[in-house]
């Protein structure tokens, strides 16, 4: 095969295109921060999840420790069942508190974990018992108006 300048240009084009794809995947997308480490699954029940969505982040002390994997309605308790996968490096005590929080005023919702003092740790497949639901703005306004009316 003889080499031509056309081959060189096509090579530059293909390599450049691939580099752009890799750059998109690594620098723009979340492939580099993807959870490649081992995870474990836990779940929790919330009476109201507000605007929580699958893939929402789970943070403890502001550090990302996992992601929400699945949200469904448990028809026995009529509460939202939220499955989460947490990084194996981070273990939490059994009496950990799970809150649904909002980042900023208009930001997206995430789950905040506040560890308790129990010696035993939550294992794979277990449940967080202490939860606090999302703050729904309409409820707050409703309560406020109700209180005002009582005065």
């Amino acid at each position: 095969m003889e080499r031509t300048t056309v081959d060189l240009w096509v090579g530059i084009f293909v390599v450049g295109g691939m580099a752009a794809l890799v750059m998109l995947a690594m620098k723009v997308g979340n492939l580099s921060t993807y959870n490649v480490s081992e995870t474990y699954e836990i779940h929790a029940y919330f009476s109201n999840i507000g605007g929580l969505k699958p893939k929402a982040s789970i943070k403890s002390a502001g550090v990302l420790v996992g992601r929400v994997t699945e949200i469904s309605l448990d028809t026995e308790r009529y509460e939202a069942k939220v499955k989460m996968s947490l990084d194996k490096r981070y273990q939490f005590p059994k009496d950990t508190f799970a809150n649904i929080l909002t980042s900023g005023l208009l930001g997206e919702q995430y789950i905040g974990l506040i560890p308790g003092g129990d010696e035993a740790m939550i294992k794979d497949g277990e449940q967080i018992r202490k939860t606090q639901s999302a703050v729904v703005l309409e409820d707050l306004i409703g309560k406020f108006i109700y209180n005002k009316a009582e005065e």
């Binding site: 056309v6 096509v10 293909v14 979340n30 580099s32 993807y34």
Partner: protein, 262 residues
Amino acid sequence: MPVKNAIQGIGRRIINAVWRIGLATRFFFLAVVYSGTSFRRFHLIIKELFSSGVMSLIIILVAGMFVGMVLGLQGYETLKRYGSESALGSLVALSLVRELGPVLAALLFASRAGSAMTAEIGLMKATEQISAMEMMAVNPIARIVAPRFWAGVISMPLLAALFSAMGIFGGYFVGVVQIGVDEGSFWSQMQSAVDFREDILNGVLKSFVFGTAVTVIALFEGYDAPPTAEGVSGATTRTVVTSSLAILMLDFILTAMMFGGK
């Protein structure tokens, strides 16, 4: 009977259009069937990659840069009102990776490379080169059409990725370097918002579909062009119009399939 004539005219046009769609479908399958030969003679594809991919590089890179810069500027102006300038990175990246990258790159590709393909093949037909090939028992679909088809299909995703990457740099340049949005939040918000499979791979898939559509339309119009100067010019115009419309329509369908209802 002007009414009857008008109705007949409409009917003739519709029948003609459906006929051509059928022909184009057969042409597409022929190109796929005969592509085995062109993969064995890969230098043909390389040559076409040069003329359709490499030659479109400049316009794609420059256009991507400017689109990203405009996105950065406009996005900043809008986000500033809500005090969330830090979301500029995710705005620029998501709109480029999901929509603007594949669509605009395909539109530019259709007018830069698609029109050239149509004109080239149409002129080959007008100067009876294609008939000459048939006389020599060379299959023109395998020799001319299939390499161009694969070159278009291969180069389109690469061009779209380059477009998006350049656009993000353009947005970075305007947003971070010139206006002074915080660099850390620009990149980190972008990374947390853009999902590799959901956004980037879907964008690549989109550009594959667009590349296939544009090259098939361009090649078919060229192959089907009346062998006259007028015919070739008409076919070139039709290539740009039809493939642009096809891109936008397919984009709606693909977007609805990929991101709709979530």
